[in-house]
């Protein structure tokens, strides 16, 4: 899933007049698809199992977009520095880049980042990476429809149903 700024989804019309140009593009030369490090970070946080994970659901590109569009430069700098820290740790520990490590090796590195000072670049990086991966994953069409079975309309409210109740209108 390649994301091109200004394609597929346009901003709501009330936001017209806001510039749609992304002025600060981190990872400058890297597009989402050829940012294997970010992709493998998201894929490690929510991996593909018998159901799609963050990578298949386009979350890495979304993270890059949200960081670029919604966060100041200092937040972006910390994120990418922290991510490089993770890559360096992987190289030191396993002798290869993060993206080429096994799942176990990658998890060890990310958990080390979690154990770091939350104010450090690596601490900020893992917190933000996890937050945005969860956001992207849980708001993806797949999870909203298939896991949450969310139906916008018709809705309903029942105040007292058995625990195993399945609403006939829910997506299946």
């Amino acid at each position: 899933m390649v994301f091109i700024v200004g394609s597929a989804i346009s901003l709501p019309s009330w936001a017209n007049g806001l510039s749609k140009t992304v002025t600060y593009q981190p990872g400058t030369s890297l597009s989402a698809d050829d940012n294997p490090l970010l992709t493998s970070v998201a894929d490690t946080i929510i991996p593909t199992t018998d159901t799609p994970g963050a990578k298949e659901l386009g979350v890495p590109a979304l993270i890059q977009k949200i960081l670029a569009d919604c966060y100041e430069k200092d937040v972006n700098d910390s994120f990418y520095k922290g991510m490089n820290w993770a890559n360096d740790k992987a190289k030191a520990d396993a002798g290869k880049p993060f993206a080429e490590c096994t799942t176990e090796q990658r998890l060890v590195v990310l958990k080390r980042a979690q154990a770091e000072d939350p104010a450090s670049d690596q601490g900020k990086f893992i917190k933000m990476a996890k937050e945005l991966t969860i956001l992207g994953y849980t708001s993806s069409e797949y999870v909203v429809k298939k896991v949450n079975k969310y139906v916008m309309i018709p809705g309903h409210y029942y105040g007292n149903v058995p625990l195993n109740y399945v609403d006939p209108n829910a997506r299946n």
């Binding site: 159901t51 100041e72 996890k130 309903h156 105040g159 007292n160 609403d167």
Partner: protein
Amino acid sequence: MTNILTDAKKAMTYDAIVIGTGISGGWAAKELCEKGLKALVLERGRDVKHIMDYPTANLEPWEFPHRGKGTLEMQRIYGKTANEINPFQLKADEQPYIQEKPFRWTRGYHVGGKSLLWARQTQRWSDFDYEGPLRDGYAVDWPIRYADIAPWYSHVEKFIGVSGNRDGLASLPDGEFLPPMETSIVEQHLKGIVEKHYSDRHIIYGRCAHITKPQPIHSQQGRAQCMNRTLCNRGCPLGGYFSSNASTLPWAQRTGHMTLRPHSVVHSIIYDEKKGKATGVRVVDSESKQMLEFYARIIFVNASALASTQILMNSASTRFPNGLGNDGGVLGKYISWHNYRGHVNANYDGYMDRRTDGRTPTNSYIPRFRNLEKHNMDFLRGYATGLSAGRGFARSQEGLGEDLKKHLTNPEYGEWGVGAWMMGEIIPIESNHIRLHPDLKDQYGVPELIMSCDWTENDDKMVKDYIEQLTEMFTVAGFKNIRSNDSHSAPGSDIHEMGGARMGHDPKTSILNKWNQVHSCKNVFVTDGACMASTSTQNPSLTYMAYTARAANHAVEEIKKMNI
């Protein structure tokens, strides 16, 4: 030459001018236009047409490019809390104000105002509320009683559609109700226990302006049944809840008598010294920044409590050097709001084989029970309580990798969660006031407001009692893990600011008479939150709508009688 001027003035002349398109302004427009008056309805913000200007209303979560987060550009325009979901955000530099003391001023500056953003709770006042100031010796006596307003409550409720249960409580009179929605079994459980344990307390369904069973009057407005989307604040394409945009404004438009003018910032009201009455308003066109004048026989001020007061204060003349109608010096004083500081939350491990399903736009409600029949606490007045209990998915975000994914994809039903929030009455005092800054003006040349409002000891005592009582009720109900806190939020955080041009009997101590007319300038009516002499505990919008309908009909009668 004279003729050209006369004609030009005629083109700017209407029967009525309504300042504001929010919940009360929309009602003024509807009632006045229905009675045949040509009304100019002014809105300082942009137009928002029902359905077509709700761009996010039908977007699914994945359709938001930033999944709801505001871009840096949006943050620059709307402030740090900007998001891409709510299309009705206020530009950060739109209208600066000075917080002499902390005050949070939430505004809805677009057609429809805060009627697109409200919590839609609609509870009537009773004489326990209207008689409060006189009985307990604070503020000024209300010049009206429940009997004056009751028929207008009915008039409004039938039109807007109010879902409610007939509870038969003197403290919270029943209205014209459409069927209630369900409440949860744990709310029912709490109700059963509390009503048995305490003779003075009731837990009822929170009456709300949602259509649960459309009546012909709703179909005529083009509104349909609420579908429990609970995306209300994006604008409801169904018109399932009441807003000016879905209801009163198109209704007024249909009469052919309404001229809606967005981008019109009212600067002041024009007072004619010779005629001894108001003749029109000065408007700054927010796009051209030009000052224009419009004229009318009557003026309804519905700009929202503080903004309406600001307009009156900025309307100085030889007759009224301190602001329109301000003979007694009380304009801008006795500002009040609601005390939402107290919160009590808990869990419950009963009914573990049951849960809730779906979404509800309302909640349960405990009407005020403190100091109700008589004053017997160490603080004045009391509080109502909003309450909800539900049991949906709990989705842990623990762990990384497959562990995390398992949590996210296999949400579990935790214990029941219960939450209660306080809605306390504020005692209006003179020192809680707003005033115009002597020098600073906004981009339209209107003097900026200085907010000088603070909590009192009465509020602190009430929060303490609220937390004690809710904790006790939750304990009696067998709830556990009871947590409480006093948010110490800034005044105004409740978005129920009231007063500034209060109603009363005496022009020396109030601005408005019992018909919401300015005592000393009877063709000006103020029928929004500015008119409130006391706050009681109910969500105020329903009462503003009823006052507005009543005042508009009185205005038409007075015009017929040639009194104004």
